[in-house]
């Protein structure tokens, strides 16, 4: 199955997850447990696609491909949302968060890492982020078909 067929669903699911992951606090909660945020994005995309194609099922390869596309979109969306925040308010936001006594240390370290990159790092992180999220999304899509959407699994 051509990956283009998944696109309306993966664009919506990936973009929603990417936006949520880029937000401070919400994103920090989502990234607390492995890559659960990206994998949840793959599941959301898969649900959207399966709901829109009730007569069709997915093979494990299709599921991995759908998840990879969703992960890639999620990485790109997360990058796009975070770039203006990083470039415009990076150092100021980092200082602001580092001075807050009520925030746990891990959150401060995480926020500092997110908001104080130089432009070259931010630019180079886009392809890395897309590939990284794509791989995690593929695993999420594959596992999602095995455990969550078992009834829609097509025999190969």
């Amino acid at each position: 199955m051509h990956p283009r067929r998944f696109f309306p669903a993966v664009a919506i699911g990936g973009a929603i997850t990417g936006f949520a992951l880029a937000l401070p606090i919400v994103g920090d909660i989502l990234r607390c447990a492995l890559c659960i945020g990206v994998m949840a994005g793959s599941l959301l995309s898969m649900k959207l696609w399966l709901d829109a194609h009730r007569a069709e099922n997915l093979t494990p390869i299709d599921a991995a491909m759908l998840g990879a596309c969703s992960g890639g979109v999620c990485g790109a969306a997360s990058w796009i949302v975070s770039v203006p925040i990083r470039l415009a308010f990076g150092p100021a936001l980092s200082d602001f968060f580092m001075e807050r006594a009520f925030l746990p240390d891990f959150l401060k370290v995480n926020l500092r890492g997110l908001y104080t990159d130089d432009f070259a790092s931010i630019f180079m992180s886009l392809p890395l982020q897309v590939v990284l999220y794509g791989v995690m999304g593929a695993l999420g899509g594959f596992l999602g078909l095995q455990y969550v959407f078992v009834a829609r699994r097509e025999a190969q």
């Binding site: 992951l21 880029a22 994103g27 920090d28 990234r31 607390c32 447990a33 492995l34 890559c35 945020g37 990206v38 093979t59 494990p60 390869i61 991995a64 997360s78 975070s82 240390d105 891990f106 370290v109 995480n110 890492g113 997110l114 990159d117 130089d118 070259a120 790092s121 931010i122 630019f123 180079m124 992180s125 890395l128 982020q129 590939v131 990284l132 999220y133 794509g134 791989v135 995690m136 593929a138 695993l139 594959f142 596992l143 095995q146 190969q156």
Partner: protein, 151 residues
């Protein structure tokens, strides 16, 4: 298929390259790797391994998971999907037990256990996905050959 394996191996190796070669890497490239991984992992200092005095860009459990992804990608033998269907949930259950016991304060974060549980989950999930993809690829080739012979 080689492209998929290469991509998985690259992603699995990336945090380790960043950790082991941090002084040789250009600062911007190191920053880019950090930025890509920072948005996927909590990076809590007490749960992160130090390599050469510097913290890795992912926590020790994620480091194990990525090492598992790398090992599965370069593993030359194809594991049976039936076996992996049993081993993966067992590994995930072991990891969940460690996460819960650690977060409930029953024990302090212990890097070898975090690495091992992450590696089991990363390895089995990736090997399972690869074995299914490889299997269907072979079946597809077989069908194509039969169709070609029939023509």
């Amino acid at each position: 298929m080689k492209g998929l394996r290469a991509t998985l191996a690259f992603v699995g190796l990336l945090p380790w390259i960043r950790g082991l070669a941090h002084r040789e890497l250009h600062a911007s490239l190191a920053g880019a790797i950090d930025a890509a991984f920072f948005s996927l992992c909590h990076h809590a200092p007490e749960r992160t391994l130090l390599l050469g005095g510097d913290a890795m860009c992912v926590c020790s459990r994620c480091a194990g998971l990525y090492a598992g992804v790398f090992l599965a990608a370069v593993w030359p033998w194809r594991a049976s999907p039936t076996t992996l269907r049993i081993v993966f949930p067992a590994g995930a259950a072991l990891m969940m037990a460690d996460i819960l016991s650690q977060d409930l304060g029953l024990h302090a974060p212990w890097h070898p256990l975090r690495l091992a549980t992450g590696a089991i989950v990363g390895f089995t999930a990736t090997a399972w996905m690869l074995s299914e993809v490889l299997g269907s690829g072979r079946r597809g080739c077989h069908v194509n050959r039969r169709e070609a012979l029939a023509r």
